[in-house]
Every structure is written in C-alpha cells, then in structure tokens.
Point group: C3
Chain length 357, copies 3
C-alpha cells in the first residue's frame, strides 16, 4: 500500500525537463440519495442511493506525447461506473442492438471503457481520433442543458429521445476535429462502422453512421449546430440540434432546439435554462419539453431547479428538485417512480456529493 | 511503458507543500496452491491454484482531500480479483438475489469495485459514507478470526453462515462512523436500500436493511458488539455477534460469538483462536463451530493451524492445514473436496504467497 | 483531475534512495482500419475499425520488490482490451471450454487480467511464478513470426491452429524460469490445473497440462524448442514447435516449424519471414502455411507484407497487406471477409496507429 503522489499545479524543477510524456489518472465519484414519486392509481414512489446525479462517475487514464514539430499522439481510456454498487457500465460494440450486453447482467458488468477509448494524432491541422467516442451531436445536449443531461433535472430531449444506440457515443469511429486557433470557430466530423459483412443483405450497413458539428464561441456567445444519421435496415436514425449560450454577468442563459427522427417516428423538443453563480455555489434552472409522433402523441415537459455548493474544486454538494407532466400516451417519471397510467405527473429530488480526482 | 514512482515514507520537501490531495493505488496479489480431501464412499479430492488464501486479492484506488476546517472528502474504489485466472469478481447491485450475476459467467466478470466503492465526508464529528461498503457486523468476523475468514482455515461462522446477500457487504448504503478520539470507544451505523418501487407489494422492502457496531479498544483489550437486519418478504435476515481480543505478550487471543437468523432458521456459532508472533513470522490457530436449526440439524466444527512468514512488509509466504468434522445433515468440505455423504469429515491445506502494494 | 507524473529514465536524487519498491503502469492502445475481401459466389467483404493490428492493446500494472539477498517478489496484472469499442476481453478460468464466457456477452466483458495475472518470487536460482500466464510453447509463435501473430499478417500456424483453450495462455499455472546468466541458454517449464474434483470421472483431469521451452541465444542466433500437452477426456492437445532467428546486418530472418495434435487430428505448419530495418521504420514479410488432417484436408497459405514507421518509441503508424489461398476444405479469410465456398482466396489490409505507455 503505497502512495501515488498526485499534485495540482507546477512540478519540481528537477522533473520538468524529463516530463515529455505523461499519463493522467482521473475520475469522478458521485453518489446521491434520490427520491421519486408519481401520480395515478397504483403509482409507486422509490428511494435509491444512485450514482452520477451531478457529474457522471468515471475512472480514466489518458496521455499525451509530444512528437515534435507540433505533432502529438494521445490516448484516452474512460470507464463509467455505478459507485452506488461498484459495478461498471457496459458498452456497445457495433452500434446495433446486438452489440449491447443482454439485460440481466446485474452485478457482473466490469470496468469497460464505455465512455471513451480512443487513440489520436494531433497537429496544427487538427486532430484525428480513432475508437469509441462521443457522437458530435450529443455535445449540444450535454453542454447546453444546465443539468448536463444528468440526475433528476436532466432535460427531456436527452431523457426521452428516440435516438437509440448511437445517441451519445459510437464505437468503431474515425473522427476529425478542427484545430483550436480558428478565431472562435470550432467543429468536428465523425464516421463510424457497424462492421457487418458487406454481403448484399439489407442489414449490411446497420450501425454505420456519421455526424458533424460546427460552432462559434466568442465573448459571451457560444452557438453550435449539429446533424447526424445512423443507418439501419429498419429505418435510419437522425439527430439534429441547435444550441445557444449567452453569458450576462453571473448568469449563463442556455437553450437547445432538437429535431430527431427514428425510422417513421419524429421527435421534437427544446431546453431553456440558466445557471446563476453565487459565491462558491450556483443555482440551476431549466424548462424542457420533448414530444414524438408515436401512437398516442406522447409528450412530457419538465421543470428542474437545483443548487450546487463547491466545497473545493474537487468536492461539491448538490441538490435538485424536478417536476414532470406527461401528455398523451407518455408515462415518464423521475428517479424510478412508477406512474398509475398515461398522462400523469411525477416529482423527485436528488441530494448528493461529487468528488473528482 | 513508464514507471509510476511509488515510495513508502516521507516525500521530497519540494513536494510536501503541494500534496494537498492524493490518490493512492493499492492492491494485493495472493496465490495459493490448495488441496482438499473428504471422507465417505464416492468422495473426491481436489487440487487448485487459488487466490486469497491469506489476504483477499484486490486492486484499488482511494483518495483523501483536505477541505480545511477539519473537514475532508474521500473516495475508495476497491475491486476484488481472482488472480489465479485473471477474472474480476461480480458485485450485487440491490442487496437481493436478483442483483447478483447469473451463475455461468465464467471468464467474463471484469473488474468491478465489489469490495468497496464509496465517497465520503469526514470531520471531527465522524464520517458520512455513501455507496457499497462492508456491513458493520461482518467486521467482528473478519478481524477476530485468526485466519481473517479466508483460505482453508476460515472460521465456520463465516463459511457456513446463513446470512445471504448482505452477510459481508451492502450496496446503496449510507454509513456513519464515530470519530477516532472518543477514548477507545468506536462505532458505526449503516442503512441500505433494496431500491424497490414502494408499491404496496410485500417485496417492496426486500434488500433494505441496517446494522450497528460498537466497540472499545484500550491497551491489550478490544471488544465489539454488532447487530443487523436485512428485510425480505421471505423472512428477514438477522446477524449478531460479539467479539473479544486480548493481547498477552506475543500472543493475541481471539474469540467471537455468533447468533444469526434467516427467516425461520437460526444459526449459532463461535470462533476461539490465537495468533502467536515468532520473529518475522506468526503461528495461527483456531477452533470454530457453526450449527443451524435447518432440517437434520447440520453442524460442523473446524480446527485450523497455520504459519505465516513475512519476507518483507509486502511479501509473505504462508501455509494452513485444516480439518473439519460434519454432524447431522452437514456436508461441508475444505478447498473444494466433495464428501461421500452427510456427517463426513474433510481435510485440506493451503501453500501460498501474498504480495501487496 | 490530476497528473500522475511519469518519466522514462533516471529519477531525482532525492527519490532514488527511497524507491526500493515500485509499481509500473503500462499499456498499449492500438487502433486500425481493416478491410478484407474474399472470392467465390456469395462472398462478402468487410470494413472494420479494429484493435491490436500491430501490438495487442492492453492495460497493466506490475511491480517488483527487492527482498535483499538476491531475492525479489513481483506481481503482474495485465488486461487485454478492445479499444475500438471500449470492451475488455474475457479470460478462461479453468483451461476448459466451461471456463470461458458464454458467447453473447457483447459489450459487457469488463477489464479482466486475461493476458497475465501472476505473483512470483525470483532469485539467482530463477523465478517461480503462480497464476494465469502464457504457455511456454506459444512464445515461439509470438516472437518468431514477423507479424507477432497479430493483424492481417498473422501467421497461419497461429491463426489456424487446432490447439484450443490453452494455445496461448493457461490459468491456475505454476511456472519455473531459468535464471538469465546461463551463457545464452534460457528456458521455462509450466504446469497448470483444470481444478476438477478427482472423483474417478474420465474428465477429472480435463484442463490439466504442462509445457516446456528451451532456447539458446548468442550473437546473431536465437533458437528455441517447445513442447506441451493439455489433457482432455475427449483427447489430449499437443503443441510442439521449433523456432529460429538469424540477424544479418539490418535484416532479421525468422522461421518456425509447428506440429500440433488435438485428439485424433494433427496439424502441421511453418512460418518463414524477415524484418528489415530502414531508418525509423521496418519492412516485414512472411510466408506461412498450416494444414490439418481433418475431413477434407483443410490447408491455407498466406503471404504478408507490411511496413511500420516509428514516430517515436511510443507511437507508430503501420500498414499490412496479406493474401491467403485456401486448399481442400479450408474456408479461412482475412479481416472478417466471408468466402463464397471452400478453397477460395482472400485479401485484406490494416492501416493503424499504435500508442504505448
């Protein structure tokens, strides 16, 4: 039992000259007590000790090597975990339903680098990245939702989306990222493979897909547009969105417009919210809605209110309260409550601690 | 391939000022050749190369951050592993049978933080700990059995216990620990959730539970009492014990009294043993017994004798011999032997090496 | 998120005195775009983003402790991973088919130390090693194939071998290695256990086995001979080979002769190849063949040509092209293509990047 010494800022002079290549160990352990209740005859409430209420729990290793001439080579291995019970999270190997773990694997899913596992080359021309990575279009929902698409407050266009296997990440991807020095313009493009045999079957391109994201950030403004398509014989999945951020003093206003399509079903939604900094803490609020064209026209809107108090840069306490109202054939709830029927409402809260390293 | 430098004691002066937060990588790799044989017609013996004969093999990360004002935030992620074949050990996600991995997962169970995965806040008021952790009552068996509830010598009240899923650890737990400065008094309380929907079903509280442990350590004496209950519709599980340690020169005398209940079945047992230090080694001996009220009144008693030689603080060689005698409908054996019938006896040994880091 | 500082060579003076025991974190992330096509009516080609085209992707921890008197204690925990999708690789717990993960575990296999998980003692008498380790006989194929038994170019006696579960590694093994100072002679012996009950069943020794390897390296020459047997009621598996390396200036000539047996089927093969160093890169070429006595006398020969360019010691770009021709009832292909029938041919290539740390 020995200590791996870890430190925040500059290093000893005697080290500096040698540190041409480094490996960073990083992680987040986020635990939260959650409660959810719903309305309707036969409804149930639920208490849980859950993970990832504020930030997604993870354990990772990443490294960057300077190859000279502006070129560098990096890798990134990041595993999600459910620290409420110690399990790891499964990944999807081929961007199709067959690439996911079968359902009843309780307790057995070990550490997989499901969140990201990439190797990359970068230079002043940008970055080329290979492996499992976030899809371009998900960034607009992760970064422009005041609740970061996590916990009781997560926005409906993320929680209720009809975008399937590649909504958040894709395996077998090749990505390209614009360099940082383009006067505020940023962007990325990604293509990924379902790895089926090309044999003329109508499923031969299942799980193949591509996405693109372009944005502009300058001063108080940040705006980004993304579009993507994943191919399936049963009908392609398309995920498109537009996101806007505007900083006014201590307030950050956030908004996302979403338009999805999964085969013949379309989905539409939005998030409108704000983060307001107060000393070492911040207030978070959001209103979001998502509706689809599926049978019964399911729709739900959610109002979320939260507060985060930073004990340090690494440690934060947080709480969130959210209320959701279903319409049509929608039966969504918060924090694992079960509603008594269609069109009911649900309320829940999180109370947690997040420790990063 | 680079070295993460690791070191035992103080650190360079140039580091000390910066090291306000640290991450510790730790582990144990313990491999042992085991043999077991049993009596009776049709019995079999078995040779294995096994793990965790002396200390439980593991790999972990933990960290502590000083938040100022006596407050600190910590995390602990500890995975068990079977280093005889490289597999990780599964966890249980909900303190019920449904939260365990299905049986035939040979070779697939990856690294899960099944041993402990917690995030905590501590101060001069004690520690608040959230996640998967040891139950309070198991400590009396882990710490007061001369063989630490591991290997051929592990005491019967641990090996034969009727305490089910939460015998050793619980997921979704909230724990509180008394601070260290209470004049020898120590203690902890824990509550954990089965996370079922509260829907009026008679199983809605399955996997919920709580435990408490209080002890007193001063000079040669250490005594601790623990009690716990986990709720199930099929009948609650109760686990209670009382443990005593007395140090006399190089000899440590150890004893545990155990009283369990699983629905309508009760279990009773004890451990009486000693550890005797000789130079860099120690002799270990224990006599233990466990009996239940199940059909046929199964009971077994075991005598265990062992020796550990410490090549260094990190590396130890060890051997243990144990003999077990069944009574009534008991058919227990040592190290995977199979007995020819009820009431037979079994003998086995371990010969291993333990390396920690 | 903090940095674990990592460095290559000497350490600060203030450290040197303390570093008596160390833990090394190491790994390889290798991603490659692969393509394969095959001939025959109904054949298919396939594109994939794969892992381990040049070196096997892995993540590991190992440590060595100096115990004084020439004795040291070590451990080695090494996990394979598929960084194209973030999954870990499963292990085999008992050297039998029952010790492997059931097939459809897509996305769930977490990090297991399937590549190696050992604890060992070593001195001037050699090394004693316990746990899951490479079998002695596989080293001749890993080290004397110019393509290291990986990627599109991997030699047929490795890819097509009939050697089953213990072809590459064995769990529950006890190994002995000769010390390094024997004037160029090297060698190892290994025995491993299937851990079945010894109950007189004809499967009681399934998965038990042993292997031995002896070699001689001096100046430009390296030659090694290996033999092994794993016992199964269905018929033992025997794997024997002879390997030769000869260095002539920038060229390394390599050859392996292989003779296997699995129950009543015998297999024969060879590899003949070369590696030619050119500046920071190297050309690799190999011709290999493997044939068995199974129904229809399947046989295939492969020609592989590749180039590796080292951007640094850690980072390499590589490409390989290979062509395979089947004979008899053989239907092998390269990179996941499907052949239209028996006796067809296949072609494929890899284009990838390897980053080690």
């Amino acid at each position: 039992m020995k200590k791996v010494l870890i430190f925040a800022a500059a290093v000893c002079a005697c080290w500096a000259a040698r540190a041409q290549s480094s490996v960073t160990l990083f992680g987040i352990v986020d635990a939260t007590l959650t409660y959810g209740t719903a309305s309707g005859a036969g409804s149930s409430h639920r208490w849980q000790l859950a993970s990832s209420g504020y930030n997604a729990s993870r354990l990772g290793l990443r490294g960057q090597e300077d190859l000279g001439g502006g070129l560098s080579a990096g890798f990134w291995l990041e595993a999600g975990m459910a620290n409420d019970n110690g399990a790891g999270l499964a990944t999807n190997t081929n961007n199709q339903a067959s690439g996911a773990a079968p359902a009843p694997l309780a307790g057995a899913a070990g550490l997989t680098f499901n969140r990201r596992s990439t190797v990359s080359l970068s230079g002043n021309w940008g970055e080329l990245r290979l492996g499992r990575d976030y899809t371009p279009q998900i960034w607009n929902l992760l970064l422009f939702d005041p609740f970061g698409a996590l916990g009781a407050g997560a926005a409906q266009p993320y929680v209720a989306a009809i975008n399937g296997v590649t909504q958040v990440r894709a395996s077998n991807s090749v990505g390209y990222f614009l360099p940082a020095n383009l006067g505020g313009i940023y962007g990325q493009a990604q293509a990924y493979l379902g790895e089926n045999p090309r044999d003329g079957a109508n499923t031969e391109r299942d799980g193949d897909g591509a996405g693109v994201r372009v944005g502009y950030a300058a001063g108080p403004l940040d705006v980004a547009l993304a579009a993507s398509r994943t191919r399936y014989a049963a009908g392609d999945v398309r995920q498109n969105n537009l996101a806007l951020k505007w900083q006014i003093g201590p307030a950050r206003l956030l908004g996302v417009l979403v338009r999805d399509r999964n085969a013949t079903v379309s989905g539409n939604g939005f998030v409108a919210g704000a983060i307001y900094a107060i000393g070492a803490g911040e207030l978070r609020a959001a209103f979001s809605r998502y509706a689809t064209s599926a049978a019964g026209s399911p729709a739900a809107r959610k109002f979320s209110l939260g507060y985060v108090y930073n004990l340090s840069k690494q440690t934060a306490l947080y709480t969130t309260v959210a209320h959701l109202k279903n319409r049509g054939s929608s039966k969504m709830t918060i924090n694992g409550a079960v509603a008594g029927g269609l069109g009911e409402s649900s309320t829940g809260f999180d109370l947690g601690i997040r420790r990063s390293f």
